[in-house]
């Protein structure tokens, strides 16, 4: 049973597909509850990072406490926990969901439910969350609320006839959402006098306060000065400050009690000691069991990241360390490439996570980086019985030493308008997908289920899917295990020398096509140089494709008009700049893009 205090609290998250209006709705709620005035608000305050705002996605969970005065005169505390919205961050989403009693499901009135949304709804249902469906963008001419309501009922089995029909953008019907949150979502429970169990659903590094843990107190209470223990990492700290969360800041308080959402600072120096999903308890009166659901972050996708300018190696390391302060899932260790010199092997939760890190390194840390093609973890059983995990193609043992190889496979869910089914099935087939089934969501939309090697998804599958469906198809996947597979390492030789950073692992049936396209692609990417450059794709010593970059015969500025030396210098400077964006690989200058070209093979 909830106490009187708890009865006034609602903890909820918002589930929505990218662009379906999650952040806009959050903004409206903040506005309506007076947390922020319209003036104060930068659009979509919850998405803090520049990249988040640009991509319209949430990478880090956020939380905010709102006070709402209901018509009956009662004041309610509404804790909104904003969840990350991408498959790469599934675990983080699950922890945010575990911190709530309910979820607002925002569905675009024109687009309907998407794969990602559905995955998160199932996640919420697993955690017994009460779902409040909301139909957004009701004012658009293309809105078809009745169909979308039917879809919600058919696909999720959720009564949606009375779902608020709103426009978050134009502030239509927002209050009805709040009313439904209060009436439908249960108040938190949890014994205030039991030993403390607080769930960490996110953490941030702050250079003044150290790590700030975002928590939901499930049972018990905690105050400043008490010694807390992280039940999984078993580290202990003294609470220096705690309180409630507001956009972009905190409101200190003297206690957090069962049912509440807030933050805790305890002089923690490393986010890795404050893992999402871990349970905080008191050292003096510890709980018997941690809260369920804790998982260690497991990177699924790996790539090499190198400084474009070798002398920036230390800067790159510093930047990765700084990013890691706020991103416990990012892993990296030094590696050396013959072609690229000193760099790092980095592990990510998924492709988006990888892209985000790459972008942040370039934009926030102003680094010019070269990244190698992403790889997954292969499991290799050697003839001597030894089993190794391989995340870098370069380290693949000699084929004669390999008894068998396994690759990770995922269960992929794709939702698409029916008209693209044919072309998407073709794509999945081509990507070695194993068809599991197809369900109609409504007359014009279907859900396709495939088992598919992760290695195929990593090679630009998402973009291919988008282009075959004019952007309408959505994808969700989860790792389902390992499967034996016939895989080979494909090497690229430039001017006769193997360029380690261009090697990749590929299914034997696709090796020829990929090798050929790769050689063609590199021919387009590598500029002509002073000598002829043969490009060869090989498996072991066998050459399976060959292209040639012809030598240029001429590179000279003829004219010298009326003493204009400045212009000559500028042209040469530009040429020199261009050279700088190249990596010297043996005697060949290779542009940075080339190392990612395996991703752009249009196969």
């Amino acid at each position: 049973m909830s106490t009187e205090r708890q009865k006034k609290i609602r903890n909820f998250c918002i589930i929505a597909h990218i662009d379906h209006g999650k952040s806009t709705l959050a903004d409206r709620l903040l506005e309506l509850t007076g947390v922020l005035t319209e003036r104060e608000m930068e659009e979509q305050v919850l998405d803090n990072m520049e990249i988040e705002r640009e991509r319209g996605i949430t990478i880090k969970a956020q939380a905010v406490r709102m006070i709402y005065k209901a018509e009956d005169g009662e004041e309610y505390i509404l804790n909104l926990i904003d969840t990350p919205g991408h498959v790469d961050f599934n675990y983080e989403v699950s922890r945010s969901i575990a911190a709530c009693e309910g979820a607002v499901l925002v569905v675009d009135a024109s687009q309907g439910i998407e794969a990602q949304t559905l995955a998160n709804v199932y996640l919420a249902l697993e955690h017994d969350l009460e779902i409040v469906p909301v139909i957004n963008k009701i004012d658009l001419p293309s809105a078809r609320p009745d169909e979308v309501i039917r879809e919600i009922e058919d696909v999720i089995g959720l009564e949606a006839q009375n779902a608020p029909q709103i426009s978050a953008k134009n502030g239509i019907n927002i209050e009805s959402v709040i009313k439904r949150i209060i009436s439908d979502i249960p108040a938190p429970r949890g014994d205030e006098d039991a030993p403390l169990r607080a769930l960490i659903f996110d953490s941030y590094y702050d250079s003044y306060k150290g790590v700030i843990a975002y928590v939901r107190v499930m049972e018990g209470r905690v105050s400043p000065g008490q010694t807390i223990r992280m039940m999984h990492t078993e580290k202990e700290y003294v609470v220096t400050e705690l309180g409630y969360l507001r956009p972009g800041g905190q409101i200190p308080s003297d206690a957090l009690m069962a049912g509440e959402v807030g933050y805790i600072c305890a002089g923690i120096k490393d986010v890795r000691n404050c893992r999402v999903g871990d349970t905080i308890t008191l050292a003096s009166n510890p709980a018997k069991e941690p809260l369920p659901g804790y998982k260690k972050a497991v990177p699924m996708v790996f790539c090499g990241i190198y400084p474009a300018d070798g002398s920036k190696y230390n800067d790159l390391r510093d930047s990765l360390e700084k990013l890691q302060l706020n991103d416990a899932a990012l892993m990296f260790e030094p590696e050396t490439s013959v072609a690229l010199g000193l760099g790092f092997r980095c592990g990510f939760l998924g492709l988006l996570h990888m892209e985000i890190i790459q972008e942040r390194l370039e934009r926030e840390y102003n680094l010019d980086i070269v990244t190698t093609a992403p790889s997954v973890i292969y499991r290799i059983t050697k003839t001597n019985g030894e089993v190794i995990l391989l995340d870098n193609p370069t380290n693949m043992p000699d084929p004669t030493e390999i008894a068998s190889m396994e690759e990770p496979v995922v269960k992929a869910t794709i939702m698409t308008p029916t008209e693209y089914v044919g072309s998407i099935m073709e794509l999945c087939q081509d990507r070695r997908g194993n068809f599991l089934g197809m369900d109609y969501l409504e007359a014009t939309r279907v859900m396709l289920n495939y088992e598919m090697p992760l290695n195929e998804i990593v090679y630009d599958f998402f973009d291919a899917l988008k282009s075959r469906s004019r952007g309408y198809a959505s994808l969700d996947y989860e790792l389902s295990g390992y499967k034996e597979s016939k895989l080979v390492k494909l090497d690229i030789r430039l001017n006769g020398e193997v360029v380690d950073a261009l090697s990749f692992i590929v299914h034997v049936d696709k090796a020829y096509a990929r090798g050929r396209r790769m050689a063609e692609k590199l021919k387009e990417t590598i500029p002509r140089q002073m000598f002829e450059i043969p490009i060869q794709a090989c498996i072991g010593n066998k050459i399976i494709a060959r292209e040639t970059v012809k030598a240029f015969r001429k590179d000279v500025l003829a004219k010298c008009y009326g003493g204009d030396i400045t212009r000559k210098k500028k042209l040469l400077e530009k040429q020199k700049e261009g050279k700088k964006r190249m990596r010297q690989v043996g005697s060949v200058e290779v542009p940075q893009e080339a190392f990612m070209s395996v991703l752009k093979l249009d196969l």
């Binding site: 002073m530 240029f552 015969r553 001429k554 590179d555 000279v556 500025l557 003829a558 004219k559 010298c560 008009y561 009326g562 003493g563 204009d564 030396i565 400045t566 000559k568 210098k569 040469l572 400077e573 040429q575 020199k576 050279k579």
Partner: protein, 380 residues
């Protein structure tokens, strides 16, 4: 590097009958009404800057364009007057005027000679009328022959012809014909330019729109090599990437650029290098004239060149000359061990057979001349 050397003077006449389709230089057709005020502005600039020259001797004067020969000769004479009035023009100075066939007549030629102009640079570009038309030239091949013969008849012996190779649709036979016709006039200087496509030109636009077919690189290079061989056999020795001359007929004005000597430029878009500072007048004719009327030149750029950059300039300019660069000489000029400074780069370039070293002299190889930018970027 300041003080005592003789300097060059460049005067820019930005007017043409019609702009060629490859040209992105400051020049305009029409505009007859501002010829006169423009010349007045140039003369004003000559007055204004005379202090700058501070009594330095002028060893070359180059009246370029545009098409200076398009203007009534009286304008040219008044410029010559102003130069002589305000500057110490050496008695044996090289004084060049650029001319295009079809704009030159007997009166002009005589007047130029009377004014002391002793070198004529004629733009031919190609000897085939169809190529001339393609390039947007306003004259015929025959008019070139006439212009050269007439100039020679009246006493011009120091004549240059500009020719272009690497034109789409230009065959090796076309090129050989152009070369032999030029040589048949027994002129002592020829400039061979590889057609360069500049962005802001009709050709540049064609290229952007994908309507341009670059000529075959092999053919283009073989035209270049053939030209330098043929010119050499005719006694015109190649002395710079694009230039060949008979002994004692190298263009002193351009040599001064390549040897990083000082020069003053007059007129719109004219460049100057003086007292370790590079500057350029505005390329906007009206702004230029307004500035001169106020006695206050409008500049597009003006920046000092510190020694470090000066050395880099000396390398990229000097390496254009077949005689190469004497590193020990540069060491003296820049008070630094240039050989040591560039040792690694030079070794690498020599290894790639782009330059050759002989004592303290470094010069481009034949291959280096085709790939000169690859050498130059090392010194930028």
């Amino acid at each position: 590097m300041t003080g005592t050397q003789d300097i060059g003077i460049y005067i820019h006449i930005p007017f043409c009958v019609r702009k060629c389709r490859y040209c992105d230089f400051a020049s305009w057709s029409g505009m007859e009404s501002i010829w006169e005020p423009y010349i007045r502005a140039v003369i004003r600039e000559l007055e204004l800057k005379s202090e700058t020259a501070a009594g330095r001797r002028v060893m070359s004067l180059f009246i370029g364009g545009g098409t200076p020969s398009l203007l009534p000769y009286a304008f040219i004479l008044s410029i010559m007057d102003a130069v002589r009035r305000h500057y110490r023009l050496l008695p044996d100075a090289e004084i060049t005027i650029e001319a295009n066939p079809g704009t030159l007549d007997e009166d002009k030629v005589k007047a130029y000679l009377d004014a002391g102009i002793n070198r004529l640079s004629i733009g031919l570009q190609a000897y085939q009328d169809r190529l001339l038309k393609f390039l947007g030239r306003v004259h015929t091949a025959r008019q070139f022959d006439e212009a050269v013969s007439m100039a020679q008849r009246h006493g011009f012996s120091n004549i240059n012809a500009d020719i272009i190779f690497g034109i789409p649709h230009q065959t090796m036979d076309d090129w050989l014909e152009t070369l032999s016709r030029v040589l048949s006039h027994r002129i002592p200087h020829v400039s061979c330019y590889s057609l360069t496509i500049e962005e802001d030109t009709p050709f540049g636009r064609m290229k952007r729109e994908g309507k341009w077919q670059d000529p075959d690189e092999e053919l283009e290079r073989s035209m270049y090599h053939t030209a330098m061989e043929m010119l050499g056999e005719a006694g015109l020795e190649q002395y710079e990437l694009s230039n060949a001359a008979k002994p004692h007929h190298r263009c002193r004005h351009n040599m001064n650029y390549w040897q990083r000597g000082e020069y003053l430029g007059f007129g719109a878009a004219a460049h100057s290098f003086h007292n370790c500072q590079r500057s350029a007048n505005t390329s906007d004719i009206r702004l230029y004239m307004e500035g001169m009327a106020r006695g206050n030149p409008v500049l597009d750029e003006c920046y000092p060149v510190p020694d470090e950059e000066g050395l880099s300039e000396s390398m990229i300019l000097g390496l254009r000359l077949t005689e190469g660069v004497d590193l020990d000489e540069l060491s003296t000029v820049y008070h630094t061990d240039v050989r040591l400074k560039y040792r690694e780069k030079l070794e690498k370039l020599a290894e790639r057979k782009l330059v050759e070293l002989e004592g303290s002299v470094v010069r481009l190889t034949k291959r280096g001349m085709d790939l000169a930018n690859q050498v130059f970027v090392e010194f930028i």
